[in-house]
């Protein structure tokens, strides 16, 4: 019995070896048998992969080059910037640019503020958008089409259209004239972060329509049976959502959360409109050249024009400093991020 099994095993092994040998056997022989087709195919495959490599390498370099360039410029002294021989590696290595940029942007405080605001806004936005996305994906209710069209409209309307009236809306904030009746004047909410939090809670913040859309698409793709089973077992709507559906929706929620955090981090429009006085990395970066001018004037006592090269060097350093946290975040999250978004399966 065992002998037979052994013999069978042996013969199987031999067979395998044979086929392997057969496959390995003389490429040219097989090429001849196929009438030159094999060689043609092989050459084409290799050619294609070389072509692809060159193409991808070029494009990756194109994307990375500005960052590399910024890194090299940020370590240069002013002297190196004018030196035509110095291109990538600074001759006089210095970290003074970083110190200056940090001072000009009041980096420490701006960083803390930015982290706080981006984090809270992102959490708020994604929480609300998940709820709304789930509502759109899984429930039938009157005027559903109308409200979804409203979501699309929110994606389409440039926020600049309503910027001027929002500006006034919060400058003279009132709820149905209540404040005016009781205190005699309207509330001035400009310069506080409250309006922005209110808007984010109402899904009208930065790109919230897009998050609703992505999350809804994901929930629509999940099987309905899960929820029905939960309902049959006596789960309520909210409990089903929290316990059954939410754990499954991790991929789109993570990617939307990352988007929300990153876009909030670099946003200039909403920040300037609502958080004007709060020091944020994005707003202080966009003002860095002006503050450099003011700084040099304060030191020299006279108004001097700063050279283009030097101000751009400081700008590059500042940009690097504000994207550095994002790059670190991306390095940790990129795999999950790319996989999750590619598997979400966005479809219209």
């Amino acid at each position: 019995m065992t002998d037979m099994a052994l013999a069978q095993k042996m013969s199987a092994k031999e067979n395998k070896k044979k086929t392997l040998v057969h496959q390995d056997k003389d490429f040219w022989e097989r090429n001849r048998l196929s009438g030159g087709y094999l060689l043609q195919k092989k050459i084409m495959d290799i050619g294609l992969s070389i072509f692809r490599f060159i193409l991808l390498f070029g494009m990756c370099f194109m994307i990375l080059q500005p960052i590399l360039n910024k890194i090299s410029v940020s370590f240069m002294t002013e002297q190196d910037l004018y030196n035509p021989i110095v291109i990538a590696i600074p001759e006089h290595f210095t970290t003074a640019n970083y110190r200056l940029a940090a001072e000009l942007m009041s980096y420490g405080q701006a960083l803390i503020n930015s982290i706080l605001i981006s984090l809270t806004i992102a959490v708020l936005q994604i929480t609300v958008c998940t709820l709304v996305g789930y509502g759109f994906a899984r429930f039938e209710f009157p005027f559903k089409k109308f409200w979804f069209a409203a979501v699309i409209l929110v994606i389409l309307i440039p926020p600049q259209t309503i910027a001027s009236s929002l500006h006034l809306h919060f400058r003279f904030f009132d709820i149905l004239g209540l404040f005016k009746l009781t205190t005699g004047s309207t509330l001035n909410l400009r310069g506080s972060a409250l309006p922005y939090y209110l808007m984010s809670a109402g899904c009208m913040g930065l790109k919230n329509g897009l998050y609703i859309f992505i999350i809804r698409q994901f929930f629509r793709g999940l099987p309905v049976d899960l929820e029905e089973a939960a309902y049959v077992d006596g789960c309520g709507m909210l409990k089903t959502f929290v316990r059954i559906m939410l754990p499954q929706a991790k991929p789109p929620i993570t990617s939307c959360f990352l988007f929300a955090f990153v876009w909030q981090w670099t946003d200039g429009f909403y920040s300037r409109l609502f958080l004007g006085n709060t020091k944020l990395v994005s707003t202080s970066l966009s003002r860095i050249i002006d503050s450099l001018g003011a700084y040099i004037q304060r030191i020299n006592g006279v108004k001097t024009t700063i050279s283009v090269a030097y101000s751009n060097c400081i700008l590059a350093t500042g940009t690097l400093m504000i994207i550095m946290p994002l790059i670190i975040l991306y390095l940790f999250a990129q795999r999950a991020f790319v996989e999750s978004i590619a598997n979400t399966g966005i479809k219209m």
Partner: protein
């Protein structure tokens, strides 16, 4: 017996209706934040800004005054303001060219990134980096980076303006091929960096579509003797055609909201620096309507060619 059955049916129906009602209520509860937000922070300001665009707005100490001036603000935007017309036309044509380029580029890149090769994870990570790095203020700062511009100029001078695109362009021009269209194409190629950094999300969307196509389709086509080129046009293209619509919408809208957009800059300047809220509202409404019309017409045209597989 029969009556009983009828009653039971009725009861069941009632139950179903009850559940539906409850579900409808729950649905509204879930989307309530959006409904409230939409009414308070979108419809109301929209209405107000539409109103303001017909008014002259003056800021007072505790309030603001609106006086009805009819179409004056619109006439001002079109006929008096020195820049607005030009900026509008420029940005629209730029938008068309760049959006087309972005769609083509991202489709192409998604096709490549969908293939299997060594180092794919790394390449993907690099291609999605712009999603993070080229948003918000950074785009605006990047686009008027004078250091880079002067560097490019120096290179152009030292090499006497020899670049691949310039050479190609001169060849085509001497060959007498239609010039204007090619100029646009070469402009896009020269600014391929802008196209690449603006197409991160689009690549992701195309990629997710490509991964949802089942491989058995390609296998069947392969066995039937389809070439790769044929299966690209007969399978890949129709299967993800709906994503072209999504991407087109996203690209156009994204372009409108970029902070280096000339029209947006103009509106901001009029509103914040010159404090002319009426004029700014009129301009933004003109811009919004033009973009909406453009998006509506183009997506109607595209949706005619979209194939839905169910």
């Amino acid at each position: 017996m029969r009556g009983n059955g009828f009653m039971e049916k009725q009861k069941q129906k009632k139950k179903v209706v009850g559940l539906q009602k409850r579900k409808a209520k729950a649905g509204y509860a879930f989307i309530a934040p959006f409904v409230i937000g939409f009414l308070v922070f979108m419809i109301k300001p929209l209405w107000q800004s539409l109103n303001m665009s017909f008014c002259n707005v003056e800021l007072g100490a505790g309030d603001f005054k609106q006086t009805w001036v009819g179409l004056t603000n619109y006439i001002y935007a079109f006929r008096v303001d020195p820049e607005f017309n030009r900026l509008l036309v420029e940005e629209l044509s730029r938008m068309i060219v760049y959006s087309l380029a972005i769609i083509v580029f991202s489709f192409f890149v998604a096709l490549i990134l969908n293939q299997k090769f060594k180092g794919r994870a790394l390449v993907r990570a690099i291609f999605f980096l712009p999603v993070i790095l080229s948003s918000g203020v950074i785009v605006g700062l990047e686009s008027n980076n004078q250091l880079m511009a002067s560097l490019a100029q120096t290179i152009e001078q030292t090499t006497q303006g020899v670049s691949v695109t310039a050479a190609l362009e001169s060849i085509l021009r001497t060959a007498g091929v239609g010039v204007r269209a090619y100029e646009k194409v070469f402009e896009v190629i020269d600014n391929i960096y802008d196209v690449a950094i603006a197409s991160g999300i689009q690549i992701i969307i195309f990629l997710s579509g490509l991964q949802s196509i089942s491989s058995s389709m390609y296998e069947a086509a392969d066995i039937e003797g389809c070439t790769k080129w044929e299966s690209l046009w007969k399978i890949t293209f129709p299967m993800i055609s709906s994503l072209f619509l999504v991407n087109w919408l996203y690209t156009v809208v994204d372009f409108c909201m970029r902070s280096d957009n000339g029209v947006i800059e103009k509106i901001q300047k009029v509103m914040v620096e010159q404090m002319q809220y009426g004029n700014a509202s009129a301009m933004s409404w003109i811009y919004f309507l033009v973009v909406l019309a453009f998006v509506g017409i183009t997506s109607l045209v595209i949706s005619k060619g979209v194939y839905y597989y169910d």
